[in-house]
């Protein structure tokens, strides 16, 4: 089974039933699986902060939403994470590709990529780092924690999840 399919199956198993996305090249394969399977409602959004709003509304209406995005989108979402999700105690799952870290070829990704983990700590968002296919099962633990604590959580997808750093993504 491909890494993208494994990620998809783990996401499905958690009961996540709404996926909002802003694309990243690292998420290309996973987004294709989501579109192919058509089992989980998927809506493309224009900006990550907008996704936080939609996720919050969907949670109020009984859904379990997650946002697929690049870590740069964390910066776009900070006020909504604090003054919407934290204020009202709404759990939203952030599944984030980690650009600007090991193996990155685009310089512009570095400034945000290098502070991402510290930023999540500062935001008091519990973070699960997936750096090899063996960690994918942690998605289930992470989502359970979000549901129990009613707090947002972050699942970081590292480049090494898909193989060696020299490969295309």
């Amino acid at each position: 089974m491909s890494v993208d399919l494994k990620l998809y199956e783990a996401i499905k198993k958690t009961g996540i039933n709404l996926l909002l996305s802003v694309p990243c090249i690292m998420l290309k394969g996973l987004l294709e699986v989501i579109e192919e399977k058509k089992e989980i409602q998927h809506i493309a959004v224009t900006r990550e902060e907008e996704g936080v709003g939609i996720a919050a509304g969907a949670y109020l209406g009984g859904k379990l939403p997650a946002i697929l995005m690049q870590n740069s989108g964390l910066g776009n979402s900070i006020n909504a994470i604090k003054s919407l999700l934290e204020l009202y105690k709404i759990p939203v799952i952030f599944i984030m590709s980690h650009r600007g870290a090991e193996g990155e070829k685009i310089m512009a990704q570095m400034p945000m990529g290098q502070i991402t983990i510290d930023l999540l700590k500062l935001l008091t968002i519990e973070t699960y780092i997936l750096n090899s296919p063996g960690n994918i099962k942690n998605i289930i633990k992470a989502v359970d924690k979000a549901k129990k604590t009613k707090k947002p959580i972050a699942i970081i997808l590292k480049r090494t999840l898909w193989g060696s750093l020299n490969e295309k993504i």
């Binding site: 809506i43 907008e50 996704g51 109020l60 209406g61 939403p65 604090k82 919407l84």
Partner: protein, 184 residues
């Protein structure tokens, strides 16, 4: 017409619609006119009321959802108009009360006071049902006759807020009572 009067008219028409209301003075005024369990009052995250309402609408497709947004707020999140117009939730009505100013922060002017026309932006985003209301007497006939379609209703008002108290509810309480009502 002032926003408070527009909100009074809207409240008169409401039956069991779920309402997501923009933060600051609009939410305080709406609470003051008539509190309802079906109202979700925003207290932070300016700009996101249309997104919250859209998320609610797609997760509760059998219930009508009305969003009361403002010009300053929607200008912060114009991408939301594209997302809503392309996904076309037939149970969502986005009401934008356009008073051309940031009312909760001291009536600084927004660009809708100048050249910007939200109805044209909405049309460009893909909305197919758009109403522009300038007189109070038009609110009731238009809002009462909304069918199951994705609508955008722009209500042009004068700037200015009513002096009302803060909402004496905790954010978590607003959420809990709203979710209890929907998911019971």
């Amino acid at each position: 017409m002032r926003r408070y009067e527009a909100l009074e008219e809207i409240t008169e028409i409401l039956t069991d619609e779920l309402v997501v209301c923009n933060l600051g003075d609009p939410s305080r005024e709406l609470y003051n006119i008539k509190d309802r369990l079906e109202n979700f009052y925003m207290m932070g995250s300016m700009g996101l009321s249309s997104s919250i309402a859209f998320g609610l609408a797609i997760s509760q497709p059998k219930r009508k959802v009305w969003c009361i947004d403002g010009d300053g707020s929607i200008l912060m999140n114009l991408g939301s108009l594209s997302t809503i117009a392309n996904n076309v939730p037939s149970n969502l009505t986005l009401i934008i009360v356009d008073n051309g100013s940031y009312g909760s922060t001291g009536d600084q002017l927004t660009y809708t006071h100048g050249k910007t026309k939200l109805e044209i932006i909405a049309q460009g985003a893909g909305f197919e049902s758009i109403s522009v209301i300038k007189n109070k007497s038009e609110i009731s006939p238009i809002l009462k006759n909304l069918g199951w379609r994705c609508h955008l209703v722009l209500i042009k008002t004068m700037p200015g807020s009513e002096k009302v108290e803060n909402i004496p509810l905790l954010p978590e309480d607003i959420k809990e009572r709203f979710m209890d009502l929907i998911l019971k």
